[in-house]
């Protein structure tokens, strides 16, 4: 029984950033990368099932360039024996539906029994990838999962789906299924130093879309949108309070006092 966990290395903008000359993205000089917060929770959910039952394999995977291997090593440092990275330079800038097509191809190739994706990624927040994977596979799916009971091999899993304003829905979903995992479902572990060391030795299979039987045309056709431009939004009219911390605090205190007096 195998759980595939797609993870993403998300882009984080520096405090001062500039756009690229073509206006299609931020200048890479101002972009850092980190693991997507949601993926800590989806990976933890998979590891917990692996640890509670025999015969469960957890495989982290990503669609990303060489740098993205870091997020896979980060997973492997916590558990799991191997990872998969899919890449081709033609995928630069690929959107969620295209990435999902490749994740689905890996799920098929691996014979995965479940896919746990993050609810969304912290950079562009499409909240699409996991659900697109399910659509590609034709599997049942639940988004925004905050609790999970699953016995490997069982016909259904019982989940909590987090709705708006604190309301939760309890439901079952037939397996195999794609679940998108939400923050707070568990307390993600930290990797041990030993785990980090061991992760360096674990294999990361590198696959191209062609290896997965996905053609360039199929990839191009899967894009659900085209990016026209990125731009800095017009900022609101926030009045910035300048000065030393003491001066700033004094000004804030008087603003608050004045507003409360008026209220």
């Amino acid at each position: 029984m195998k759980i595939l966990v797609p993870v993403k290395q998300v882009a984080v903008l520096d405090e001062d950033f500039e756009l690229r000359d073509d206006g299609l993205d931020a200048d890479p000089d101002f972009i850092d990368h980190e693991s997507n917060e949601w993926d800590d929770y989806s990976y933890e959910a998979a590891l917990q099932i692996m640890e509670a039952h025999g015969g469960v394999e957890v495989v982290p995977m990503t669609v990303g360039p060489e740098d993205a291997e870091e997020s896979l090593r980060r997973c492997l440092a916590k558990g799991g024996e191997r990872a998969i990275r899919v890449w081709d330079d033609a995928l630069t800038g690929a959107g969620p539906a295209t990435v999902a097509k490749l994740i689905a191809a890996v799920a098929r190739r691996e014979g995965a029994d479940m896919v746990f994706a993050g609810t969304l990624s912290a950079d562009h927040s499409y909240a699409m990838t996991g659900i697109c994977v399910a659509a590609e596979l034709g599997w049942p799916h639940v988004a925004v999962v905050t609790a999970l009971e699953y016995q490997p091999g069982a016909a259904t899993a019982t989940v909590h789906r987090e709705l708006e304003a604190g309301l939760v829905e309890k439901m079952t979903v037939e397996c195999p299924a794609v679940l998108t995992i939400q923050l707070g479902i568990n307390q993600p572990r930290y990797a041990s130093l030993r785990g980090v060391k061991q992760a360096k030795e674990k294999p990361v299979d590198e696959l191209s879309p062609a290896d997965l039987g996905v053609s360039g045309e199929e990839l191009a056709a899967s894009a659900s949108f085209r990016l026209r431009r990125m731009f800095k939004p017009a900022r609101g009219q926030a009045e910035l309070i300048e000065g030393t911390a003491a001066e700033q605090a004094a000004r804030l205190a008087s603003i608050i006092k004045e507003l409360r007096g008026a209220a």
Binding site: A135, V144, H160, L227, P233, L252
Partner: protein, 319 residues
Amino acid sequence: MSGILVIAEHRRGVLNPATLETIAAAAALKQVKPQPVAVAIIARNPDEFVGQVNAAGVDEIIKVAVPTDTFQSDVYEATVAAVVAARGPAVVLFAHTVDTWGYAAAVAVRGGFGCATDVFAVRYEGDALVATRAGYKEKLHMDLDFPGRQTVVLTLRGNVFKPIEEPGSAAVSAVDAPAVAARTAHLGYIEPDQTGDVDIAQAEYMLSVGRGVGEEDNIEQFKELADALGFTLGCSRPVADNGWLPKSRQVGQSGKTVVSCKIYVAMGISGSVQHMAGMKHVPTIIAINKDAEASIFSIARYGVVGDMFEIAKELRNHC
């Protein structure tokens, strides 16, 4: 393909008011490019909602009776696909909600449609539909288009399009729902935990801390500051998820909306869409964040770019 199809959303017999915002977005597109606007109601008893979605600008209300009261992704996916097949819209609009996160993108993949989520502006440039959404934690905006797509699915951010209140005179029709076996089953709802010590929805003055607070031991000094100012302490989600403050203090989409709040001080909160969903409406928002580009500043009236600990310490001298 032409026309706009709006998918109404409801839960437990109540229409999601975001549906009226979605209709407003459709009506605005219709103004610049005349085309029919239809609203589909997928429900066990669609009649319940017909009157409520009959807003000015809607030409047709399509009732689709399905054998479930609750959201089941398989049923909704197949049903929307059937309505799209029946009416051939160029644009399908949803509210960007937890339900649509669970199936709108799947509708697009399966139908071969274009798709963009969390869209807060839509326009035509020539014949091309252009959708605007945010990236990089709201620090950049992006314009998307959908070349070669006959139909485009968009999910729209809440509290952006002003709901239409004027009643309309739409024709009412029906489309048969396809027979589908749902592979999910509803077991029940679990109500939010109301056992918190305060109801932040009632608070007029709030000071909320976010992940910038760093660790649990740091919470106390902000609690003391809030008390000294006569403010109620709230938080963003990571603080509640970590158990540093009870869930009942969480502001946002999956927490509470601070409906009564007059002054909201956000310290070490970046301003995610989900957090802003609970406080964006507050008349005076004061943001303290060390990152000058944090999106919270885009909705704040006053901003301090600086360290929340230093400012908090200094503020204590004034209360």
